[in-house]
Subunit: 319 residues, 2 copies
Amino acid sequence: MDQPYVIGIDIGGTNTVFGIVDKRGQILRSGAIKTGRHEDVGDYLDELAQALNDILKDPFSKDTIRGIGVGAPNGNYFSGSIEFAPNLPWKGVIPFAQMLEERIGIPVALTNDANAAAIGEMTYGAARGMKDFIEITLGTGVGSGIVVNGQLVYGHDGFAGELGHVIMRRNNGRLCGCGRNGCLEAYTSATGVARTAREILDLNPDTPTLLRNIPVEDITSKDVYDAAVTGDEVAISIFNFTGNILGEAFADFVAFSSPEAIILFGGLAKAGDFILKPTKESMEKNLLKIFKNKVKILFSGLKEDDAAVLGASALGWEV
Amino acid sequence: MDQPYVIGIDIGGTNTVFGIVDKRGQILRSGAIKTGRHEDVGDYLDELAQALNDILKDPFSKDTIRGIGVGAPNGNYFSGSIEFAPNLPWKGVIPFAQMLEERIGIPVALTNDANAAAIGEMTYGAARGMKDFIEITLGTGVGSGIVVNGQLVYGHDGFAGELGHVIMRRNNGRLCGCGRNGCLEAYTSATGVARTAREILDLNPDTPTLLRNIPVEDITSKDVYDAAVTGDEVAISIFNFTGNILGEAFADFVAFSSPEAIILFGGLAKAGDFILKPTKESMEKNLLKIFKNKVKILFSGLKEDDAAVLGASALGWEV
């Protein structure tokens, strides 16, 4: 039977978005439901299955779908479960892939959102043709998907690739959401950048900057970018600080898997050269000699609005 | 044709040792030549080929050998070359596998010594049946071989797995042989332990310890072990310091590839519980919550005298 399409589902804290995707990475039909409307995951899945059936109308049908890929926070590829996800309404271990498959009758594979982004990048984006790369998602948190030898690294338990939680500062490191101190995420996530902004403003009370026009607790990484674009030196120094730590981390990642490229995805990647330049400089400065001038740092080739669904959908080819 | 044997060759700075190995990891016949006798690598390879022919006598013959595996410093699996090895007499890039294959007429595969140890561990040692583990060699330097999904991680250029050179101390880190500061190797190699001994003795001039009976520049990690066995508290604190840093590094490695086990190999592993206990404690303390109490730290299951040849030989099954 000809099955030229897959379905991608991205489960976010607020919305669940999904779409039918073809082999070239075109989203041909899409939809969304609220993630938080049902406290019972069964009710949520009933609504999701109904919404999927609604888009599986002519010229599509279940028979044309190769598989369904799901990207979810704390999604475990091996078990197909969502395990203790702090930002979702359902507690404990949810055998999500199995429960959806029972309702829709199409094979379902599930992984976490950062891994889904890496698979999407390899299938449709900047990592096409690469067998060894690392996808770093710089959003509210810092996630990662590691590809070695053309395969995603899941580790023995399905939880590999938590590069947002390597320790970058062992003395007086910032408290991270994970409860430990000094994690990469505490410095290079969007919230980490906002925190750096507040620290730098505090430490330099007399230096003029556009950022003083914003209440200090409200400053976002987007505000820092907007200021940097006008040449604001404090804003630029915030990105330099961030890129410096990110580059230090990348140099260690390279010593691990020697990737062809490290690919930046997510909100902070929109800062373009403001984040890319200091990151690259710092990485090169910190690399072991045999790795110097070999590793590319690239921006994601996935269109932002489509990236989550595309990434998840790519897993649908592998079910 | 029945090919029940492989040959393993380990190239060290002083000696080149080799042996014929069967499927169960028994070394059935072995030999050795001096690595440094010939400045010209061609002359060295002529001697090596002759020595191999000498052991390939009845009941063995070339026809019974599946392949030859070579472990060499700076060995690159992809190219089969030894590239700029500082401790070998031949400079530049040596197409070693090809040159040996031309002389002996058996397929040759080559990798670096730490990767060879990991393959040996997976084939004959403590990692039998594991698909995800990390082998850490704690010798003069610190090397590593990373296995993901049952495959060695070579990276896009063949140089992945330089875990001795992740940065553990970014401020006032010790100078490493690689020219950078704060590398894991500068703390947890045999020479790193000796350095720690000198520092701790300097910083605590009034604390009694057996180590003061040895000229401070001559103290080795073996001396520290001998003192620790007698209950010497300074010696024990040296291992605690070392294990603490090693455990911090392991916690970061787990965030990368989530291995089932991290396996200790090489001289320092002989310190047994003196190094294992503080390493495990520190790793558990530093692990991200989802990884706690999941990752084993084991000692190599390869017999020390045979390990280098066994590790290299295991690659011979894959040529």
